[in-house]
Symmetry: none
Subunit: 154 residues, 2 copies
DNA sequence: GGTTATTGACCTTCTCTGACTTTCATTTTA
DNA sequence: TAAAATGAAAGTCAGAGAAGGTCAATAACC
């Protein structure tokens, strides 16, 4: 018997298919439709539409709130996906991060201006907190920026 | 666009466009037009036409009262210098930083791609350390990125 | 028995309203 | 004519309402 999560996953994927890889939905509406708890939707999003699986989620609370699901183009972005899934873990040094940015510039994934902004954001000086945490913060920031670039390329 | 606030924001921006960046309006009139509470107008002004987003509000109460909305048009380099030297100190909230990035995008100082990268770099989620330090780290990163942009433009 | 799924209670954020306050111009009154 | 009253604005703020988020406890599955 098909599990609820699977059905919701299928449903969302169909919608994504119909809407060119990007869609907005209302959490409560969807939960009503499947007669389940609203938090069930979060579970499906977390387990089936994670970054690892090639999706990016944005949302907004309050009146007029929404959840936006974006399918990322994994095939044309395998280098970035590799960076996100394997190369960058919880920590990364400034040198390593700069090397990655340099490489992305060379491959034409980002512009020179973009490379300068990114380098500024991951500098030791920029981060300005105790050294033992810097590499962790840098890894977070780096991944957040890379994810932003992924959503751009669709 | 479901939200009333967004509709009012759009409306005001159209008026501003037509009137060369400065306009006067009557709060109650506008509230009547949108069939909402007058204080809704204040909410829109506070959240969408803040100083960080590049607008300045003047008003006068009593008979013949008005609200004047002024779009700020500062030289781009001066604006960045103001951000670096005055606006951003040791700490800045995510909302304020996002408003500034939004404003820079509107003024054509940065591209949309650059704005997304910058927003990613200053997200609470991206920074991933104890809350009490986030605003400090964010301020550092923001200033580092702005400095990079400033050097680019010379 | 351990992993995966589901729910519900509680939290956070954003929007919108209404009651109350303040300010200013005009008109009335002593 | 100066002070008081009136009316016409705009401002403030707390609270209700409308979304989505989190997490721990339980249930279902393999």
């Amino acid at each position: 018997m098909a599990r609820l999560s699977d059905m919701i996953e299928e449903f969302i994927k169909t919608l994504l298919e119909e809407s060119n890889g990007q869609l907005e939905l209302q959490r409560n509406e969807l939960a009503d439709y499947f007669e389940c708890a609203p938090s069930q939707i979060n579970y499906v999003l977390a387990t089936r539409f994670s970054l690892d699986r090639g999706y990016y989620i944005e949302s907004r609370r309050g009146g007029g709130g929404y959840i936006r699901i974006i399918r990322l183009d994994m095939d044309n972005n395998d280098y970035i996906m590799y960076l996100l899934k394997e190369r960058i873990g919880n920590r990364i040094s400034q040198q390593a991060a700069e090397d990655i940015i340099y490489h992305m510039l060379n491959k034409g994934i980002i512009t020179e201006r973009e490379s300068l902004i990114m380098k500024a954001a991951i500098q030791d000086k920029g981060i300005g907190i105790p050294t033992n945490l810097k590499d962790n913060v840098r890894a977070s920031i780096m991944k957040a920026m890379l994810t932003a670039i992924l959503t751009l390329r669709n």
